[in-house]
């Protein structure tokens, strides 16, 4: 039984595709483990798509880009579609090679949620019972990793500058608040201190050190035009 879930706000940002990669991975992995959140995401996606595509807007003005769109359609009909079909026939090999989404650490073998399959080529680094595999999300604002704590291991008490997200993927751990099960999704802010301990060992996905970074939508935090200037 999963007790900790992303809140509605995060789920809805995820359905819109507005969260950064690190957080999108977390929600997607959680939803793969949690049928309840998966179902909510599906419903949100249906609602969004109807809002976007099916609502008849009485005051719908003729798009100012109608001419551009017309010429794009012309291009599609005269050549693009045929080219796409030709390309498709040319590359018979399936373009989605099913990546291996399992990891082995300290003799333990784990099968991870689908979303990790492109991310786990890096190697594990670690001291003692704690090992970390850093994921390359390309986001300067957040560090995302797989974290493995061997049986009877613990992480020294710490607080966070920003937020810390922990998604438990396998095993169990507990801190001063509770004991957690696979699928549990815990978002802690800087006011919380904790020192997770595990008796049987555990594997987590974590994101750390990003004040407000992942709980707001991309669009609110980053101005794409601003980013383009750099």
């Amino acid at each position: 039984m999963i007790n900790y879930h992303p809140d509605q706000h995060l789920l809805s940002l995820h359905a819109k595709g507005e969260l950064p990669l690190s957080m999108s991975i977390a929600i997607s992995a959680h939803a793969e483990l949690c049928a309840h959140c998966q179902q909510q995401l599906e419903q949100m996606t249906i609602a969004l798509s109807e809002q976007q595509f099916e609502q008849v807007n009485a005051s719908q003005h003729v798009s100012e880009h109608a001419a551009d769109l017309d010429s794009l359609l012309g291009q599609f009909l005269s050549s693009t579609l045929d080219n796409l079909d030709a390309d498709d026939n040319a590359e018979q090999a399936p373009n989605t090679v099913p990546g291996d989404n399992s990891v082995t650490i300290k003799g333990q073998h784990y099968v991870l949620p689908r979303v990790f399959r492109k991310q786990i080529n890096a190697s594990w680094q670690g001291i003692g019972k704690v090992s970390r595999l850093r994921l390359d999300t390309g986001e300067p604002q957040a560090r995302a990793s797989l974290l493995h704590i061997a049986a009877n291991g613990e992480i020294p008490e710490h607080t966070h500058k920003g937020s810390e997200l922990t998604l438990l993927l396998a095993g169990e751990f507990s801190d001063c608040y509770n004991t957690y099960k696979p699928g549990d999704f815990m978002l802690l802010d800087q006011d919380h201190e904790h020192s997770p301990k595990t008796t049987e060992g555990c594997l987590c996905y974590t994101i750390v050190d990003a004040p407000l970074y992942f709980t707001k939508g991309i669009s609110k935090l980053l101005n794409p035009i601003g980013d383009l200037l750099y």
Binding site: A35, T45, L69, L73, F76, L84, R114, I218
Partner: protein, 220 residues
Amino acid sequence: MENIQSQSTQTRYDKGNLSLRSSTKRNGAMNSDEPNPLTDELAHLMLQVANNRCKTSFAKLFSHFAPKINAFGVQRLSQQGLAMDLVQETMSRVWTKAHLYNADKAAVSTWVFTIMRNQCFDMLRKVQHNREDAFGDDIWPLFESDDAENNDDDFLLSASLLQHVEELPPLQRQVVQGIYMQELTQQELADKLNIPIGTVKSRLRLGLEKLKSFMEKHYD
């Protein structure tokens, strides 16, 4: 087995639709119980594209979706040039992936929305982090082939479902097993058990509802 599963997914999907319709009703966007002609029309066009590579149908889909994708792109990517790229990429994938569209699983709008959102996600990463990677489809699985890779889960689910079938009351179990495992028709089963077909239907319905509640209790 598969029938039982798809049946329960279908029901969940319906529920989602209903709650959502009641919330959009105020806008007059949708009428709760009538079939939506737009949805059917879009599904028909999609099939034409998938089965017959029909360009006329594609053009109609384009006329419906492109301006809206463009509006989404302008809002999300803040640049008309990028928004046009989004239209082009999304509609190209509608064409090349048309054969993977499954009308039983999602409305065309939802499918196109998913393609668009995934594409937009990857484009935003390109703009913001200068990354050429494509994660959209890993985060929000889109196509049948993605499901096919998850055979292990299906297998586990099937195993636990089988166990729950065993736990059904005998009369319901008999009917569920007859229809889904021996693949008899409802009439054949009624003849075999010497009961009216209406009884087969009602036992089946009760049995499936019970299975569904088992599954929700244990897997939600």
